[in-house]
C-alpha cells in the first residue's frame, strides 16, 4: 500500500508501507556532547518502535555530509533525520534529491537553505517533512541577550564569543546580536571574537578580551563550549562574579556552572527530545497522519514559567527544575 505525504512540493513523497522504516541520522560532529544527545533521542525511539537506524557523522565537513547523503540515497534509507553541518550546502540534497527518491526528511535542530536566521514557519524548508527545534534560532539567542540586558541595567561593556563565519549557529547568533545592539544602546559590545568552538580557543580569546577591556562586565557565548573556556579564564584573572557570563546550550556542565555561580543564565537545549519528536513525526507521516511543518514544542519538560514552544531560560533560580539533555 502507498501513502502520499505532502512535503510542499508538486510531487508528494510516496511511502511504500511494505518497506520497514530504515532511518539515517546525519549529525554534524559526533564528538560534541550536544550532538550525542541527538543520537540518544533516536536510539530511544528506535528501541521503543523497533526500527533500524544508522548514524552518519560528518565531522564538521559539509562535503563529507553530502557524500554520506548520496551514499544513503543509494543504500535505500527511506527517512532521514538531518542536523546539517551547514544548511545552504545541503539544501539541494534535503529539499530536492531526497524527496525525489521518496525519502522523508526531518530536521532536528539546524535548518537548511539559509534559513538559520529565520523564525517560526520559515524555519521549515519546502521538500522536507518537518523542522523540530527553535532553541538555536535568532529568537533563542536574543532571549538570552535580553536576559543579560535586563539583569544588568545601565551601561554595560559586553564581550561576545561566537563561532566561525558562515556557521549556521553563528549566523543566527549574529542576527540576534545585531537586533540587540539596536534595541539596547546601553549594551555596548566592546569585543567580538570568532572562535572554533573549542574550549581552549575560547579560554585564550577570553583572556585577551579581559586584558584589552579591564572594565568588561558581561560575556555572552553562543554555546556551552564558549563558557567552558571563558569561566576558567575569568577564574584565573580573578574576575568571577565581576564579569557575568551568559550562554546558550544548557548542558550538564552549564547546570553545574549555574549552581556554582560561574554563569548567570543559559538556554535550554533539547536535542534529545527534538530528535525524538523528529522520529515521531516520521513515524506519524508514515502512518498517514498529518505532521506540522514546524515543531517548536518538541515535548521536553518545561521549566516553570516557560511557555511551550518558546525558549526556556535557565537561571540559578530555576535550575533545579531543568533537566539537561547533553552532558
Amino acid at each position: 500500500e502507498e501513502i502520499k505525504v505532502d512535503v510542499g512540493l508538486d510531487k508528494p513523497v510516496v511511502i511504500d508501507t511494505e518497506q520497514p522504516l530504515k532511518l539515517a541520522l546525519f549529525i554534524e560532529i559526533g564528538t560534541n556532547s550536544a550532538v550525542q544527545s541527538t543520537i540518544t533521542g533516536v536510539e530511544k525511539m528506535a528501541a521503543k518502535y523497533g526500527f533500524s537506524y544508522d548514524v552518519f557523522d560528518a565531522r564538521f565537513d559539509v562535503a563529507r555530509q553530502i557524500n554520506q547523503m548520496e551514499t544513503a540515497l543509494f543504500n535505500g534509507y527511506n527517512a532521514w533525520i538531518v542536523v546539517p553541518v551547514e544548511g545552504s550546502q545541503v539544501c539541494d540534497m534535503v529539499t530536492k534529491r531526497a524527496p525525489a527518491e521518496n525519502v522523508l526528511v526531518a530536521h532536528a535542530t539546524g535548518t537548511a537553505c539559509g534559513r538559520s536566521s529565520m523564525e517560526g514557519e520559515d524555519l521549515w524548508s519546502p521538500g522536507t517533512l518537518t523542522y523540530v527545534g527553535g532553541n538555536e534560532t535568532p529568537g533563542a539567542f536574543k532571549a538570552i541577550m535580553e536576559k543579560a540586558a535586563a539583569d544588568n541595567p545601565g551601561r554595560q561593556k559586553v564581550g561576545i564569543l561566537t563561532g566561525p563565519n558562515l556557521h549556521p549557529i553563528t549566523v543566527s547568533f549574529d542576527k540576534a546580536l545585531d537586533e540587540i545592539k539596536k534595541e539596547y544602546p546601553d549594551f555596548e559590545v566592546v569585543a567580538l571574537h570568532r572562535t572554533d568552538y573549542s574550549p581552549p580557543d575560547n579560554q585564550m580569546k577570553t583572556q585577551t578580551m579581559l586584558q584589552a577591556n579591564p572594565d568588561l562586565s558581561i560575556m555572552v557565548g553562543a554555546y556551552t563550549n564558549m563558557s567552558k573556556g571563558a569561566v576558567p579564564a575569568l577564574e584565573a584573572a580573578g574576575k568571577q562574579g565581576q564579569v557575568k557570563v551568559y550562554e546558550a546550550g544548557g548542558t550538564e556542565w552549564s547546570v553545574e556552572a549555574l549552581k556554582s555561580g560561574a554563569i548567570q543564565a543559559t538556554t535550554g537545549f533539547y536535542r534529545q527530545t527534538a530528535a525524538e519528536a523528529a522520529a515521531q513525526a516520521i513515524l506519524d507521516a508514515r502512518a498517514g497522519k498529518k505532521v506540522p511543518r514546524v515543531i517548536l514544542n518538541d515535548g521536553h519538560a518545561l521549566i516553570p514559567g516557560q511557555e511551550a514552544g518558546k525558549v526556556g531560560l535557565v537561571t540559578r533560580d530555576n535550575v533545579a527544575q531543568y533537566t539537561p539533555e547533553s552532558p
Binding site: A24, D57, T71, F74, C91, D92, G114, L166
Partner: protein, 326 residues
C-alpha cells in the same frame, strides 16, 4: 670492452628489474584490488555502477587537486593553500554566476584566479626563497581571508539550472565531473611521463642543483607546478560549487591534508623526485573506497577513524615493503 660482468649480468638484472618493477606497481594496485574485493564481499552493492559513479564523482575535486599536488610534490614542493584556492574558486564561480555571467566567462575567470594564486605561491617560494610550508600556510590564510571578505562571509546561492551541470550533469550516462577527473588524470599522467616538461620536474625534484647546472630554468618550472596546482584547485572548487549550486568561502579546510595524503599514500615521496599521477590515482581510490565502504556499512565514526588509520598505514607499509625488496 670493460664491464664484462655487467654485460653478463645484464639479462638477469633486467629480468629481475622488470619483475621488481611489476611487483612495485602491483604492490599498491594489489592493495586496492584486495580492498575492492573485501568491499564487495562485505557490501554486495559496492560494485553497482551507481555506487562506482557516486564514489568517483564525490572524489572528483579531491582527485583533480591531487594531480596538481603530485606535480608540486615531485619537485619537492608542498602546497597547503589548495584548500583556500578551492574555496575561492567555488565562491568566485558561484558569485559570477549569480551576477549573471555566462558560465564560460565565469569559469575562465575562476581558473585565472587559481592561476594567480599559484603564481603568488610560486613566486614567494622560488624567488624569495621562503620554505613552501610557511609560504603556502601564509597564503592559505591570505586567500581565505580575501575570499571571505569578497563574499562578505555569506554563501552565493545559484538558482540557474545550467550552473549545476558541471557538478551534476551526465554525458553518455557518466557524470561530467567524472569525465573531467578522467581528463585531468590522463593529461597529468601523460605530461609527467611523456613530456619534456614532466621529465624536467623529476630532475628538479631529484636533484635541483643538477637540473640547474644542466641548464633547466628551475625556478620557472617550480613556479609552474604551483600555478597548475592552483588552477586544479580552482577547477575542483568550480565542480563542488556546481554540484551544490552554492559557493561559499569556508569550505575546503581539509583539502590540503587530504590531497597531500592521497599523493603520499600513492607513494610519492615528500622528498621529491619520484611519484606519478597514476600512483596518486590509486591513492585516491584507496581512500575513496575505504570511505565509501565504511559509510555504506554505517560503521560508527570513532571506529571508522581507527579502521581507516590502520588500513592506510598498512597499505603504505606494504607498498614500502614491496619497494624495499628490490
Amino acid at each position: 670492452m670493460t664491464d664484462s660482468l655487467a654485460i653478463a649480468a645484464q639479462p638477469i638484472a633486467t629480468g629481475r628489474r622488470h619483475f621488481v618493477d611489476i611487483a612495485l606497481r602491483y604492490g599498491l594496485i594489489i592493495v586496492l584490488v584486495v580492498l575492492v574485493a573485501v568491499s564487495q564481499f562485505l557490501y554486495p552493492r559496492f560494485l553497482d555502477p551507481q555506487n562506482i559513479k557516486n564514489i568517483l564523482s564525490q572524489n572528483a575535486p579531491l582527485g583533480i587537486v591531487a594531480v596538481g599536488m603530485t606535480l608540486v610534490m615531485i619537485t619537492r614542493g608542498f602546497d597547503l593553500s589548495v584548500g583556500a584556492s578551492y574555496a575561492a574558486g567555488a565562491t568566485v564561480f558561484a558569485s559570477l554566476a549569480v551576477a549573471g555571467w555566462s558560465l564560460w566567462w565565469a569559469g575562465a575567470v575562476t581558473l585565472l584566479i587559481g592561476l594567480v594564486a599559484g603564481l603568488i605561491n610560486g613566486t614567494i617560494i622560488t624567488r624569495i626563497n621562503v620554505n613552501p610550508f610557511v609560504a603556502t600556510l601564509g597564503t592559505t590564510s591570505v586567500f581565505s581571508g580575501l575570499a571571505l571578505l569578497y563574499s562578505n562571509s555569506s554563501p552565493f546561492v545559484v538558482s540557474d539550472k545550467t550552473f549545476a551541470m558541471i557538478g551534476r550533469g551526465s554525458f553518455l550516462d557518466v557524470p561530467i565531473s567524472i569525465w573531467i577527473l578522467a581528463a585531468v588524470l590522463v593529461v597529468g599522467e601523460l605530461v609527467l611521463a611523456r613530456t619534456v616538461y614532466g621529465r624536467s620536474l623529476y630532475a628538479i625534484g631529484g636533484n635541483d642543483e643538477a637540473a640547474r647546472l644542466a641548464g633547466l630554468p628551475t625556478a620557472m618550472l617550480r613556479t609552474s607546478t604551483y600555478v597548475i596546482c592552483g588552477v586544479c584547485a580552482a577547477l575542483g572548487g568550480m565542480i563542488i560549487a556546481s554540484r551544490l549550486s552554492i559557493g561559499q568561502a569556508d569550505i575546503g579546510t581539509s583539502m590540503a591534508l587530504d590531497s597531500i595524503a592521497v599523493v603520499v599514500i600513492g607513494g610519492t615521496s615528500l622528498m621529491g623526485g619520484e611519484g606519478s599521477v597514476w600512483r596518486s590515482a590509486i591513492g585516491l581510490m584507496i581512500v575513496a573506497v575505504l570511505t565509501n565502504l565504511l559509510d555504506s556499512l554505517a560503521v560508527d565514526s570513532n571506529y571508522q577513524l581507527v579502521i581507516k588509520g590502520t588500513i592506510v598505514v598498512a597499505a603504505v607499509a606494504l607498498d614500502a615493503f614491496a619497494r624495499s625488496r628490490r
